[in-house]
Subunit: 460 residues, 2 copies
């Protein structure tokens, strides 16, 4: 904290003194990832000065680490020429994701600043669907030919590699540009210089299509432990690469989406702290209303049992307790099954194995809660008359209903995601609150049915 | 699928014919990550044959991709000598995580098979706490000295780099082994051969301590986009590295933990499909019982209003609807805030900003549900007498209570994770069901209080 404050005041004073030479020198040793958060909340005028004097490399990379709002402000502050230089120098994948966040007219204006070559690249990348591999692709890779020697390949890398986003993996392509293999750069470093590149080929490579979903890319990276994967067109022609550093962001975003859906809201798709309130309310309201409409069935179900409640008001006292326990058991089961599905731990056709597990687990959990519930009423009744002379019937009703409802909740919670997946929906949509709502309605029916059987002739 | 079946039958027939030469040749071109899942469910005898004839590199790497159960079986099947060779050749970080999963006596037995050097390494790594950077560390890195030339460094890499886990980053250390910088291997490739290594240093490097939590490593990798980070002791002496491919697994495991906690269960720490049922029931029961005990307060709260319910049974009908809406709103808010906290979107001292957002969002959401609830009762009452002559009072009670309860739920859901974090607990512990339970109890009080004010003198 203190260090950051010092850095900021140092920059401020250098800007104030207009000592741009010293400022440039001061910025030199900084890592972009460290510099970006420190300068993000500088007054925009100082930020502009800093971006005008910093070395192009530093400025460009620091820009990629800045928050979107600051990026937009900065770009407005630079001269047309400076903005164009910055945009042209941005790594294509970072540029794509920046342009994607802008209103269409601004994006178009910025596109027009690019050189014809860079514009073509940017437009091609933006044409791929959101969350596709194409959007994350970068075109800065090194490709060599199989008939070259290792020495030729290394010379080529040394000559042409400067601007390449990653040199950790070298791609081997035939004369038509079709991929033949990907080879870690260490193989080149460790091989005799006169060896032909062809003899390094092992034919082991994974590849992606630009229209693949980014989750597929994530799966391949996890499986093969690579730092970069090639992207090829339908003829296996190499058109770009995707790098592992983008995958950590993808993994984070995908987990956020799943967590938010499980929490009973649409995925926000932007940070909670900066999303416009109206947009957040809309995303939350839609699910809340759906759940509310579903939960209305509880009022309908309850009205069927209105006479029973009137005769034995004590029954009403335990309604929230029994139905919410079913909901909780259902949330647990749904959460576990949805996550296991996302991690590929089992397939749909294993549903019977899952159901068997939940039958056992649900019964055990139901018995635990049922016994506690029974004892709670029994103990209270020993010291007071709160549940009337027939308290043992009340205790039996609550205890038995709990066994049934918790078991039912576990089964519903575990099977609903599978049904949704089978129907082609995202299983995470069967959020914990969604399952809880379903279990609430059916739980009421179980509760009052048990009560009817046990209390008929006495309380009912 | 078909291809996998073919591979398996091919391997089976080669083993049956005892044609080990052909088997070895057949295995040659396979990527370990592809081979492991295909052979994982081969009869264990065949798997043994396969591991005995495969090349050491293939066998070792394939082993790291096998499920734990198969790894254990395999090791038992190999001769003492073969098992020792395999264990000694495993990458240290993979070996650590394998040994960590075994019962202590088995782990000790295996440790004794290692060469003294490897045993020392393994014991040192196992001594670090679980989920620490030390456990994921590998010692196979390349370090060079600043006074060397690029040519000397490349020669050194070529000679000593064979077994190194990653050559993407080269570390520069002084004579005492203290870290001076980390340099991407591409810098070496792109620099003139006579340049001293010293002139490549930029002083930009991040580093980890072996006792750091793995989440800190994940954060640094996300921030700096590196493929490997150095691990240093308290004197900044380089003792190992952590690589990015392990980070995708860490990200996945951490997300799984958070998701499971949010779903109202303890983190399982093993796959849902293979965890022993008794262990799973235990992990789920503890939270379910806590929630149940909390929810018992609803029965207590309801009993305070028993007279009101007896006088106006219609009130009981809407209890599940109104309190569950509060719970749903609370789950949403809790989920969003917990995730935003995990992503570092805001700090605890920003609580007032969050509360202000939830005040507005909660009021808006409450109004939406309140209006729908009011209309639902009003419309039903036009066509039936189900809610009695005072239906407008019922509708007003439900509508107003909804506004209050949804607002209250949103506030509780957003603030509770912050309180937990402030007290030093994991905010994800305030799972959606936990918040829902709290809101259920307080929601009842809000509901009956609103009813009391509105219906006093008529229904109550």
């Amino acid at each position: 904290m203190l260090a950051q404050a010092n850095v900021k005041s140092e920059i401020t004073s250098l800007v104030d003194r207009k000592d741009l030479g010293a400022l440039k020198k001061y910025l030199e040793p900084w890592a972009p990832a460290d510099l970006a958060p420190i300068i993000a909340d500088l007054p925009i005028g100082q930020l502009g000065a800093l971006f005008r004097v910093g070395s192009r490399d530093l400025v460009v990379m620091t820009f990629t680490y800045m928050p979107l709002e600051e990026q937009k402000k900065l770009l407005k502050l630079l001269t047309q020429e400076q903005a164009a230089a910055l945009l042209n120098a941005l790594p294509p994948d970072d540029r794509t994701s920046f342009l994607n966040e802008l209103p269409l007219d601004v994006a178009m204006q910025l596109l027009s600043m690019l050189t014809p070559d860079e514009r073509q690249v940017a437009q091609a990348l933006l044409a791929y669907p959101e969350h596709s591999v194409g959007r994350m692709m970068t075109l800065d890779y090194v490709a060599v030919h199989p008939e070259w020697t290792v020495r030729q390949a290394l010379d080529y890398i040394r000559e042409h590699g400067y601007d390449r986003e990653t040199l950790n993996v070298i791609f081997v392509v035939d004369d038509g540009g079709h991929i033949m293999d990907d080879i870690r750069v260490r193989r080149f470093l460790l091989s005799p210089l006169d060896l032909p590149v062809r003899s390094l080929l092992d034919g082991n490579y994974a590849m992606l299509s630009p229209t693949d979903d980014r989750e597929k890319a994530l799966d391949l990276f996890k499986k093969y432990d690579r730092v970069a994967l090639p992207v090829v067109d339908e003829n296996r022609k190499l058109i770009g690469i995707v790098t592992v550093d983008d995958m950590l962001d993808v993994a984070e975003e995908e987990a956020t989406e799943d967590i938010q859906k499980l929490g009973g809201t649409e995925a926000l798709d932007e940070p909670y702290t900066t999303i416009a309130l109206s947009r957040m309310v809309k995303k939350r309201a839609s699910w809340l209303v759906v759940l509310f409409l579903g939960e209305m069935l509880t009022a309908t179900a309850m009205s069927f049992f209105e006479d029973e409640i009137a005769r034995a008001v004590v029954l009403a006292l335990f309604v929230p307790l029994v139905i919410s326990s079913g909901g909780n058991a259902g949330s647990q089961a749904a959460t576990l099954v949805i996550r296991a599905l996302a991690l590929g731990e089992f397939r749909l056709r294993d549903w019977w194995r899952i159901m068997r597990r939940e039958l056992v687990a649900g019964t055990a959990l139901g018995l635990i809660l049922g016994v506690i519930g029974f004892l709670r009423i029994a103990v209270w009744s020993m010291f007071s008359n709160i549940y009337g002379p027939h308290w043992i019937l009340v205790a039996a009703t609550v205890g038995l209903a709990l066994v049934g409802i918790v078991l039912w909740g576990s089964l519903m919670g575990s099977m609903l995601p599978l049904v949704l997946k089978r129907l082609g929906f995202d299983p995470a949509t069967s959020s914990a609150p969604f399952v809880a709502t379903l279990v609430d309605v059916t739980g009421l029916i179980i509760y009052f049915s048990v009560a009817f059987v046990i209390m008929k002739g006495t309380l009912l």
